[in-house]
């Protein structure tokens, strides 16, 4: 009697094994068989249309200031792929520190994206408040990257440093450190870069070359009047509103 019962239970258990096995198989199938595309995003720091050369190259801003750029770094986060059919795909946990002095950091390799014609990219410039209040993080968000304020917690979303004869500051240096995650000084900004409307090609492999144009930072400001922003506040908010327009598409290369 008891044996029968055990046998019955065992049979049920075996059925459960069987079902779980099928489910696992389906999951494996679903994740490996569907066709995917790879996307390589190259964010090239420029001054105007010229590739940016740090430290040694003099540039002229639209305000007439001569500038040398020493440091140019910014965070890109919450990256989303926009498709022609209106769908979007969010890259999970996407936080990238782009550093003009480190070419490797300017190349984002995104593999296994859903197929479909890509219409554009959407991303945030900076790091969201959730990551700014939850302690020490790894990877590009590691505090040793030097993009965090030690005396007033929070990430520096974007950093631009350099020299200009127009600056009245010590050593004629300018320093723009834009950050702040809390209302009313949340300097996180969204940027959208769209491909031309007539590009509808589907691809298995694609490279989008974007320019991050430093000259946009100077378009509305004279370095004689303002050579630094180092704290969250109105000035940082205004500059973030301006530099969010620094991205533009330069090239779209793809293989069908």
């Amino acid at each position: 009697m008891a044996q029968n019962r055990i046998r019955k239970i065992l049979k049920h258990v075996r059925n459960v094994y069987f079902l779980v096995g099928i489910c696992l198989g389906l999951v494996v199938f679903a994740t490996t068989s569907g066709k995917k595309q790879n996307l390589h995003v190259f964010i090239q720091p420029t001054f105007g249309k010229q590739a940016l050369t740090l430290e040694t190259q003099a540039y002229r801003s639209t305000q007439g200031d001569t500038v040398f750029i020493d440091v140019f770094r910014f965070y890109i986060s919450n990256l989303q792929i926009l498709y022609r059919d209106g769908k979007t795909f969010s890259i999970p946990n996407s936080y990238y520190l782009i550093d003009a002095s480190d070419t490797a950091s300017c190349h984002l390799q995104l593999s296994s994206l859903p197929l479909g014609a890509i219409a554009g990219l959407s991303f945030h410039i900076g790091v969201d408040s959730a990551k700014s209040v939850s302690g020490a993080h790894a990877g590009d968000l590691d505090l040793s990257k030097g993009m965090y304020w030690s005396w007033n917690s929070g990430y520096i979303n974007a950093k631009l440093e350099g020299r200009s004869p127009s600056c009245l500051s010590h050593k004629q240096q300018f320093e723009f450190h834009v950050g702040g995650y809390a209302h009313p000084n949340n300097s996180l900004r969204k940027a959208i870069v769209m491909l031309p409307v007539n590009t509808s090609a589907e691809a298995t492999s694609r490279t989008l070359q974007l320019q991050a144009d430093v000259s946009v930072w100077f378009a509305k400001r004279s370095l004689r009047e303002q050579a630094g922003i180092m704290i969250p506040g109105k000035a940082a908010m205004a500059l973030a509103d301006e530099y969010k327009h620094m991205f533009r598409l330069q090239n779209d290369l793809y293989e069908k």
Binding site: G21, I22, V133, G135, W151, N152
Partner: protein
Amino acid sequence: MKNSLKNIGLAALLLSAFLTLSWISAREKNKIKHLIQPAGWPAPVYDVEKNPITEEGFTLGRMLFYDPLLSADSTISCASCHLQQTNFTHVDHALSHGIDGKKGTRNSSVLVNLAWSKSFMWDGGINHIEVQPLAPIENPVEMNSRLSIVVAKLNASDRYRQKFRKAFGKKNTITGQQVLKALSAYLLSLQSFNAKYDRVMRSEPGYHFTPAEARGMDVFLKHCNACHTAPLFTNQGFENNGLAPDPYLNDGGRIKVTHQPSDSLLFKVPTLRNIEVSYPYMHDGRYKNLQMVLFHYSSNISNTLHLSPALQPAPDLTEGNKNDLLAFLKTLTDTSFLNQKEFGYPFEDFQ
């Protein structure tokens, strides 16, 4: 056919069970240290469920806390300004000195029951304990280093690389995140809840307030508890407690962080646990002893803008009240915490 499918199912299940078990055992390998939440205390702010504190992390954090390697010229450690026996503050120093004898503008904070802190520093500028150590490491008048430099120094040390592997698993290089997590594991463990006050409150046999201490507690509850709220002895808020601004230091406190005019001259309400040993007092260490502190509150309050409503009017304290209050405040001294070997200098690590 049916059998072979069954077998595949069985194999898949066994595999997933194996993976789950190995994941669990990998997690269990590092012994978890638990924060203690004493009866009657609120839940800690720090979420140990999400960020478990391991024994290895704690040991490593203690070693880092006592290692001058953290400073630019390897002369200053955290312990230089945070001594255990004085509730982890810099005894007898109104303002602490960092590298090259440079002086800061504030009295070094006590480090106790930090898992209950919502913000850190006298101005509350730091929002999470894990990012707190960055401030002294990178402040030019404290350790004057960079987290990236500290990480590079640690990576050059075989002993540290071994210790980090033990605490964080087999990774090739030490990261800034690991340094900060280890330091906070140690800092979070600095819990004090065994003072005479606690033992009396828990009705432990043999512990009773003297008549003066009991009267002192009544005075405390009437005049002090609004801000220095038991059992943490702080309400975690920011207040202007009527200190005349020091024109040399010119320190606006909280306004530096919030830029709100209403936060001018507001400073964090510190805990009073172990207050007897953590002199001098106030954010700039201007008062050498508790008698001076009580004199301030009873007779010396500066009526500056945004003075704490709790001090309007100033507490009316007789000399008798003050003596009783002093007796009560001394019951907050937790000698077992101040002398706990586990928190002290790790001789074995530096041999």
